[in-house]
Amino acid sequence: MLIAQQIINGLMLGSVYVMVAVAFTLTIGMLNFLNFTIPALFMVAAMITWATTAAGFHWLVGSSLGMAVAIIASLIIERFTYRYMKAKYGDATEHALPLVSSLGFLIIFEHVVIMIWGTDPMSFNSPFAHAQFSIAGLIFGIPQLISLALSVALVFALSLLLKKTRLGRALRSIAEKPDTATLMGVDVGRIVPVVFMMTGFLCALAGILFTINYKNVSPYIGDHVATNAIAGMVIGGLGNIWGAIAGGLIIGMVEVLSIHFWGAEIIKVPVWGLMLLILVFRPTGLFGHTRIGKGKF
């Protein structure tokens, strides 16, 4: 029974990883770019949600503000990481440039937040602290359940969008080859910001749900969640959004179960060991394509 409860907790934690992993996998799949600003976007949204709620506003105000800031920040990042390099060097992804610029942005965001609110973890006064029910002795938190449902629904909507709509077709053509997409009449300069807006939206949503579910924020939460999400993305296969769901949930469960069986100290070894094994022996992940993310950098 205890194990069943742990598996449920793992799935709930995994649902947050799923959203961040989808954000990673989108930018890698579409633009072949490992976007290191994702932890920063996640953290900024979480911190703003906490700060506005702590200042006495309704939590919905705080989370909308957090989401708006994250999306705008993501668009600014797009200008300096992808668009500029693209304009200057053709295929920007041949270089390590976007990666380095995104690391620069990560440093900027983390230190601005640290300067404003300090490094201490803050506790978030969740409006849904006791919203839970139990079935046969197993406890389900309602916000956690909602975030699990939301992340699956979002990925479903995203895959529909990619498959059925004009925008989705344009995005898939950019993923194949940006230059050819341009020749075929896709306005790459206008479509790429959409990917970044989606990234900002997914990260912010994950950050807000994480804040509400785990009632704890600090300037460093993004690092932990994003690194685990990267592991989830690799397990699912780079560039594959359904793989990101499976990978995120697997990582959530591996994390919770290894803490349950072996304690919190060992947690890094199973998560990263699993990821390294997959990288070396099945680099496409469980569901991935081989082509994506194999460029020079």
């Binding site: 200057k88 610029s101 690391l103 300067m115 060992i266 060991g273």
Partner: protein, 302 residues
């Protein structure tokens, strides 16, 4: 010399060594986000060998090279699976390696686990300085050899290098192993400088910063890591000094954020790093020779 300056130079020396450790694979086209892993192995191996109570009690002169060699061995062994991957996958694999090393050391009671491990003997700056200079000279020498030429050719275009008979695999394993040796050396020396080592010092941010030293410095020439480490060590301190001098405390408090902005700006202005081959030529060129037969080669190395 003030204690502040001495401390700063110690950090600079360690940064330079670890920067060369990441530079060598990067010069052969392999981005390594696992600098922390090698540093942890070197630091703990050295502390264990050096410690009289818990370890073997070897003198520093033996324990440091032994720890570096041990790290090189580990680097050699993991280079085979890791070099199967490339691009983004390689970045992720090296990062996973560093995290696994941190996770394992965190659970080894013999070296203190999460509470850290004390280092018995202390080394002064006078011991660190010659080693650092040696590492820099070695870096320059290595790039000037045939091995270094092969590394650079793989960095520029792996397929063409293989067509010209370069054994890319050997070169990459070699570069990665030497990089691991230097990483272990940096870790061991770190322990002797600060007398106490903790795994928590070497997280994701550490590896990111070391990779940035190299990429901001430039991977084309052996000047890159040296300049990158200088830049990363002194610019935040300079910003702090500017903040103190002008009375704008905001600059001092925001120095890392300003620094991030500098990184972003740097990628816009000098995408191949501060020090590139063309820039070097510009600095040391004697007389520009232009003739119709030999048009100047102004191609930025891509």
């Amino acid at each position: 010399m003030s204690a502040y300056l001495t401390g700063l130079i110690v950090i600079l020396c360690l940064n330079i060594i670890i920067a060369y450790s990441v530079f060598l694979p990067a010069a052969a086209g392999q981005l390594n986000l696992g600098a922390a892993g090698f540093m942890i192995i070197g630091a703990y191996m050295d502390a264990y060998l050096n410690s009289a109570d818990d370890g073997l009690g070897l003198p520093m002169l033996l324990s440091v090279p032994a720890a570096a060699l041990f790290t090189a061995l580990i680097g050699f062994l993991v280079s085979f699976p890791i070099l199967r991957t490339r691009g983004v996958y390689m970045i992720l694999a090296t990062f996973a390696f560093a995290e696994i090393v941190a996770g394992i050391v965190l659970n080894m009671e013999v070296v203190g686990g999460a509470s850290g491990f004390p280092v018995s003997s202390h080394a002064e700056l006078e011991d660190l300085l010659p080693v650092t200079i040696g590492v820099v000279l070695f870096g320059f020498y290595l790039i000037s050899t045939r091995f270094g030429l092969a590394m650079r050719s793989i960095h520029d275009d792996e397929s063409v290098a293989i067509l010209f008979g370069v054994n890319a695999r050997h070169i990459q394993v070699g570069a990665f192993t030497i990089g691991a040796f230097l990483g272990g050396l940096a870790g061991a020396l770190y322990g002797h400088q600060f007398d106490y080592i903790e795994v928590q010092n070497w997280g994701i941010l550490f590896s990111i910063f070391v990779l940035l030293y190299v990429l901001i410095g430039g991977t084309q020439t052996p000047w890159g890591p040296l300049i990158g480490a200088l830049f990363f060590t002194f610019v935040p301190e300079l910003l702090r000094a500017v903040g103190d001098a002008t009375g704008w405390e905001l600059i001092g408090e925001l120095r890392f954020a300003v620094f991030g902005a500098i990184i972003v700006g740097m990628m816009v202005l000098r995408p191949e790093g501060i020090m590139t081959r063309t820039f070097l030529e510009l600095l040391f060129r004697k007389v520009p020779q232009r003739s119709p037969q030999n048009p100047p080669n102004n191609m930025e190395g891509v």
